[in-house]
C-alpha cells in the first residue's frame, strides 16, 4: 500500500526505480512461495510416482501415475488393510466434534452473553485457561483420565478430548459475535412474552448462523487434523484415525513411502478444501479477537 502510494507520487518517469522495486518484492515473494510449497510439492511428487522413480531423487515425476491411488483406495497393501475404516473413523470423529462443540459452545455463549448468567465472565476466563496448558502436557493426564472413565480405544475418548479443547475458543468467538447483536432484540422478545428458549431458537440461532458455520468448521478441522491425542487414545487397528495409521508406517524399516505420501495427500485434501471454501468466515472470525487484544 505505502509502496504503491509512493510510486504514484514519483510518477511514471521513474520506471527504472519501479522495476527495482518490483524486483525487490519478487526477491521476497519467490522464496516465500518455495518455502511454503516445497514440502507439499514433495508430497504430491511421491503420490504420483512409482516407487522406483520416487526414490531416484528427481524433482519432477518421470512417469506420472495414479497407481498409488489405486493401491490405497483398493486397500491393496497390508499397511492399508483398514484404509476405509480409518477414513470413516476420521470423518465420524471430526463430525461429532463439530456437532458437539456447536451445541456446547452455542448454549454457553448464549447463557453468558444474552442471559447474563451470574459468573459468566469467570466461566469464560476459566475456559480460556485450557489453552494455557501446553497440548502435549494435558495429553498425558488425559490419557490416564480416559482410562479411568473406561473410554480408551473408543471413538468417544478422542471426541470428548477434542470437545474439551475446541470449546473454549468456540465459546469465546461466539460470545464476542453475540455481544454485537443489539440488546433491543432481547427486549422486544421479552415484551412479546418469549421464553429464553424461544429467544434462543427463533432469534439468536438464525442471527448467529455465519459465526456458527465458522466455529463448526474450526472444530471439524481441529479434530480431523489432530495427531497426538488420537495417537495416545486409540491403538486398536480398526479404531485408528488416518493420521495415526500414517504414523504407524514409520515403525517399519521398509515402509512404502510412496503409499504413505499418497494416503497423506488424500488425508490432507479435505481440510485444505474446506479451509478454502470457508476462508472468509475463518479469517475474520479468527482475527476479530486478535485485534482487540
Amino acid at each position: 500500500m505505502t509502496v504503491s502510494a509512493r510510486n504514484a507520487r514519483n510518477g511514471s518517469s521513474f520506471t527504472f526505480r519501479n522495476a527495482t522495486n518490483e524486483a525487490k518484492l519478487l526477491l521476497i515473494g519467490i522464496p516465500v512461495l518455495i518455502w511454503t510449497l516445497l514440502p507439499i510439492y514433495h508430497l504430491c511428487l511421491f503420490a504420483f510416482s512409482d516407487k522406483q522413480s520416487a526414490f531416484s531423487g528427481n524433482w519432477f515425476p518421470e512417469n506420472p501415475t495414479i497407481r498409488n491411488f489405486e493401491i490405497v483406495l483398493g486397500e491393496k497393501h497390508y499397511f492399508l488393510n483398514h484404509f476405509w475404516q480409518q477414513l470413516w473413523n476420521s470423518i465420524f470423529i471430526a463430525a461429532m466434534v463439530g456437532a458437539l462443540t456447536l451445541v456446547v459452545a452455542t448454549t454457553a455463549a448464549f447463557a453468558i452473553s444474552r442471559l447474563k448468567v451470574p459468573g459468566g465472565r469467570t466461566v469464560l476466563n476459566m475456559a480460556l485457561f485450557t489453552y494455557f496448558i501446553p497440548a502435549a502436557f494435558l495429553a498425558v493426564p488425559m490419557y490416564r483420565t480416559m482410562a479411568f472413565y473406561g473410554l480408551l480405544n473408543t471413538d468417544w475418548a478422542l471426541i470428548l478430548a477434542m470437545l474439551a479443547i475446541a470449546s473454549p475458543y468456540a465459546i469465546w468467538v461466539l460470545k464476542q459475535a453475540s455481544d454485537k447483536l443489539p440488546a433491543e432484540l432481547d427486549e422486544a422478545a421479552i415484551m412479546d412474552g418469549a421464553t429464553p428458549l424461544q429467544l434462543f431458537r427463533l432469534v439468536y440461532l438464525p442471527l448467529m448462523a455465519p459465526s456458527l458455520v465458522a466455529i463448526g468448521t474450526y472444530a471439524v478441522l481441529l479434530a480431523w487434523n489432530e495427531y497426538l491425542y488420537a495417537f495416545l487414545l486409540l491403538s486398536k487397528e480398526n479404531t485408528l484415525t488416518l493420521p495415526v495409521a500414517l504414523g504407524n508406517f514409520l515403525s517399519a524399516d521398509d515402509s512404502p513411502w510412496e503409499l504413505l505420501m499418497t494416503t497423506g495427500l488424500i488425508y490432507a485434501l479435505p481440510p485444505a478444501a474446506v479451509y478454502y471454501a470457508f476462508r472468509k468466515y475463518m479469517v475474520s472470525g479468527l482475527t476479530a479477537g486478535a485485534v482487540k487484544s
Binding site: S56, A108, L138, P141, R144, A183, T287
Partner: protein, 292 residues
C-alpha cells in the same frame, strides 16, 4: 470494545423487575452453561488435578533429574523455544508488512501461504523427513549430482536434527501468526502513515514510530501464547526425528509422552511439572492481560 454495551444491557434487564420471568432467565442461563461446565470439569480440571496428584512423589524428580535424557531435553526445549519462537515471530511481523502491499500476485501468494497451517501436520512433516533421508532423499541425491560427494546425514546429527525440527515448527505455525499480525496492521489508521509520508519519514521510521507502538501489545501477547503452545508441540519433533538419534533431540513434550509409552507414568508427570517454572509466569502474564 464489545463491553461498551454491557451497562446498558444490565440496565435493560433491571428495568423489568416486576416480571416473574426474571429468575427463570437466570435459571435457564445456568442450565445452558452446564454442558460446558461438565466437559470442563471432567476433561480439563480432573486431568490437571490428577496430574499433580500423580506427580507428588519427590523421588520421581530425583530419578528424573539423574536421567541424562531429561537434562538434554531441558536444554533442547530452551533452544527450541528461544530460537523457534523469536525467529518465527520476527519473520511473521516482517512478512505481515510484505502482505500489506497491494499487488495481485501478493494476494494470490497470501492464499497459498496459508496452506501449511490449513493442512494436517503428519503428511507434510513426513514429506520433509523423507526429503532429508541421507540415501534416497531428494536433497542428498541432488547434492551428490552436484558435488559427487555424499551429503550430510541430516537427521542423524542431533544439532542439525533439532534445527530441522525447529524449521518444521516454524513452517507449520508461521502462517497463523502472520495472519494475526496482518490483522493488527490493518487496524492501524492509514492517516498516520499518510501524515508520516508528508513529513518525509523513512520506511524504518514509519515502522519504529507508527507500526511498532501500535503492534507492541499484540506482539507480546502473541509471543507469550506462542511460547506456551510451542512448549506443547509434540509433532514437529516426534514425527521428524522421533526424539533420535539416541534420544538426543527430545523436548519436554516428546519426553513426557515417551515415559508414558514406557509405562513410567510418574516420570511422565514429573516431566510436565518440571516445566511449571517456565509456564506459570507466562500464564500469569496472560491472565493479567485477559482480566483487563
Amino acid at each position: 470494545m464489545s463491553t461498551v454495551t454491557l451497562p446498558a444491557r444490565e440496565g435493560a434487564a433491571g428495568a423489568t423487575p416486576g416480571k416473574t420471568g426474571l429468575s427463570s432467565w437466570q435459571l435457564w442461563g445456568m442450565i445452558l452453561v452446564t454442558p460446558y461446565l461438565l466437559v470442563f470439569a471432567l476433561f480439563v480440571v480432573y486431568p490437571v488435578i490428577y496430574a499433580f496428584w500423580l506427580a507428588h512423589d519427590p523421588e520421581s524428580y530425583v530419578e528424573l533429574w539423574t536421567d541424562p535424557i531429561f537434562q538434554r531435553s531441558v536444554v533442547n526445549t530452551l533452544v527450541f523455544l528461544f530460537i523457534g519462537i523469536n525467529l518465527k515471530m520476527m519473520v511473521a511481523l516482517l512478512l505481515s508488512g510484505f502482505f500489506m502491499i497491494q499487488r495481485w500476485w501478493i494476494k494470490a501468494l497470501t492464499v497459498l501461504f496459508i496452506l501449511p497451517w490449513a493442512v494436517p501436520s503428519i503428511p507434510t512433516i513426513l514429506s520433509v523427513r523423507f526429503m532429508l533421508n541421507p540415501e534416497w532423499g531428494v536433497i542428498n541425491q541432488t547434492w551428490f549430482k552436484l558435488t559427487f560427494q555424499d551429503g550430510p546425514n541430516w537427521l542423524n546429527d542431533p544439532q542439525l536434527a533439532l534445527f530441522f525440527a525447529i524449521l518444521v515448527h516454524i513452517w507449520k505455525s508461521l502462517p497463523f501468526w502472520t495472519l494475526i499480525f496482518l490483522s493488527g496492521r490493518l487496524a492501524i489508521s492509514t492517516d498516520l502513515y499518510e501524515a508520516a509520508q508528508v513529513d518525509g519519514a523513512s520506511k524504518v521510521q514509519r515502522f519504529r514510530f507508527i507500526t511498532w507502538p501500535s503492534m507492541k501489545q499484540l506482539y507480546l501477547t502473541s509471543l507469550t501464547l506462542s511460547t506456551i503452545w510451542s512448549l506443547g508441540d509434540f509433532n514437529s519433533v516426534y514425527l521428524l526425528t522421533g526424539g533420535g538419534p539416541a534420544d538426543l533431540t527430545h523436548v519436554l513434550a516428546t519426553l513426557g509422552i515417551r515415559y508414558l509409552r514406557l509405562a513410567q507414568v510418574d516420570l511422565s508427570m514429573a516431566t510436565i511439572v518440571s516445566a511449571m517454572p517456565l509456564i506459570l509466569p507466562l500464564v500469569y502474564f496472560m491472565m493479567k492481560r485477559l482480566s483487563k
